[in-house]
Amino acid sequence: MSMREMTYSEAIREAMALAMTADERVFLMGEDVGLYGGAFGVENDLIDRFGAERVRDTTISELGIVGMGVGAAVTGMRPIVEIQFSDFTAQAMDQIANQAAKLHFMVGGQATVPLVIRAPGGSGTGAAAQHSQSLEAWFTCIPGLKVVMPSNATDAAELLLAALEDPNPVIVLEHKLLYKQSFEVPETFAVGRLGVGRIEREGSDLTIVATGVEVQRALEAAEQLAADGISAEVIDPRTLKPLDLPLIVSSVVKTGRALLVQESVRFGGFMGEISASIVESEAFGHLQAPVRRLCGLDVPIPYNPDLEKAAVPQVGDIVREATALVREW
């Protein structure tokens, strides 16, 4: 397949443009997505291409915007709602959790809510505690919602297209640090599949499951580990809910060891789910070491850049933990 280079934001923008071109029910709504071009420049010139009707600048009203997305979705549109920083999903939780995710069930299937919420998370920009969280654990425990966490440009585009095809509400947790990164992407984006993980690198000594920005770090770590004679398999679940557990389990059956890496806090974080599920699966009998999590510290993200780095797993941390898991067990 012929490839090209593109940043994560460009890929998201292209996917939105593709969707808006193909389907007039698709529109975008959010704070500063129009004239400003998006707080992170993701939308850039979309307003010029699709007009202010379909690339809608809203007031600062996260709850209202998501609620309008629910109302538009249930009446036949395919809204994309952008929450400027995923931290502000806090304001919109009622519409996300109590309305969007439950409506289909509560009305016995009479209605569907094909709403896509895009929200960038993650630390690393010096934006401190209220603009840097990784909040996937708030969403993965909500029945009725799907949760996507793309770690590269192709997934960001193709899973967004998949989310737009899905009749259920989907929240896509993008990562701010990735927006400006370039990736190789296919000549044309296809519609992805929700709920299908990917083995990013094959290996035999341990399985590293990593999400979001940690996928790259895990791949870098795997490279260093290889130099050290440790063969790490790296898996990116891509969709956290529904989770491609069979992919993870069969890898752990093979390697006998699992290291779960996320940027988000450890206590109560999503990796607890993966750890518990591995232990409950047939992989239990194959474990040569305890399933281990490597997560962000249980702290709000600090402003100081060194503290901020110290608060979330870096490549060296992954190498260290993986080595310990293989060598000490």
């Binding site: 007031t59 009203s61 609620g67 309008m68 009446t75 549109m77 016995g108 599949r193």
Partner: protein, 338 residues
Amino acid sequence: MSTALLEDAAAALEALGTMWRIRLFEEAVEDLYGRGMMHGTMHLSIGEEAIPTGTCLNLVEGDQITSTHRGHGHCIARGADLGRMMAELLAKDNGYCRGRGGSMHIADVATGNLGANGIVAGGVPIAAGAGLTNQLTGNGKVAVCFHGDGAVGEGAWHEALTLASMWDLPVVFVCENNQYGMSMSAKSAFKVDLSAKAAGYGIPGETVDGNDVVAVAEATARAIDRARAGEGPSFIEAVTYRWRGHSKSDKNRYRSKEEIAEWKGRDPIAAFAHRLLESGLVDQAQLDAAQSAARDAIRESVVFGTKGEDPDPAALLDAVYAPSAVDATDTRLQEASR
């Protein structure tokens, strides 16, 4: 359209019949609940029937409504099937929500009722979103948002009004001001007449007698016409009173017996019937017929509902997500989700 109410006997009797259906439906529900045949919690709108009735008679096919925890009246006024409603409240599989929603989530999406809502003000942004669909597609439809006086205190209400007015969306906010949000009196809570708040959003605001079905019909007709003409949202405060407690746990500590009695004296159904009779538009026999037709319909609905089957717990997990074309072919995922 709504002035027809005082000129066209058929229209008048239809409105009267709607009010009776709401009243008698809720009395039946109360009775079933009292006899232990219905469970959960109930919010009855007895005494408030004129508002959904007067409003919904202005709506046409495709217009949407959003409703509240006190939503039986909206659902009935919008034309839902009473049997399937009763079946739902009786938690049956042939109920509107297949027994999964109950009273607080009663919905009939086919008639444009996007659903009751257990969350105070939860439906307000959703109505604005429906209005956005209408505006974006140019379908000529209007969304009506019913909400209580208590909902006015919620941030969701404010954000939805802000966005709807900013975009001139075809939405009508109908505030059923029954003077209490559970126990909080609207007067202590808000200091101003609720309709005075509309000015802060740059939209028309009007207070009407919510126990006068004609007044409600006229005010909402104007607002709906305005919305349909692309002139944006309006806010209508319809003042009324809830005869029953907020829900079953209510000891009515926050209001007096006298107040309740006084408002029972302003029964919207009796008042409208009396007015029709006085005006000579209809005779007593016709009024009686409207009432007894409603009674029969409710009786049938109870029969229908009680005959329904219980939903199958085994179907629970499948009910959470709408099937997506892609997932359906992926058996590995289906296994994983077990």
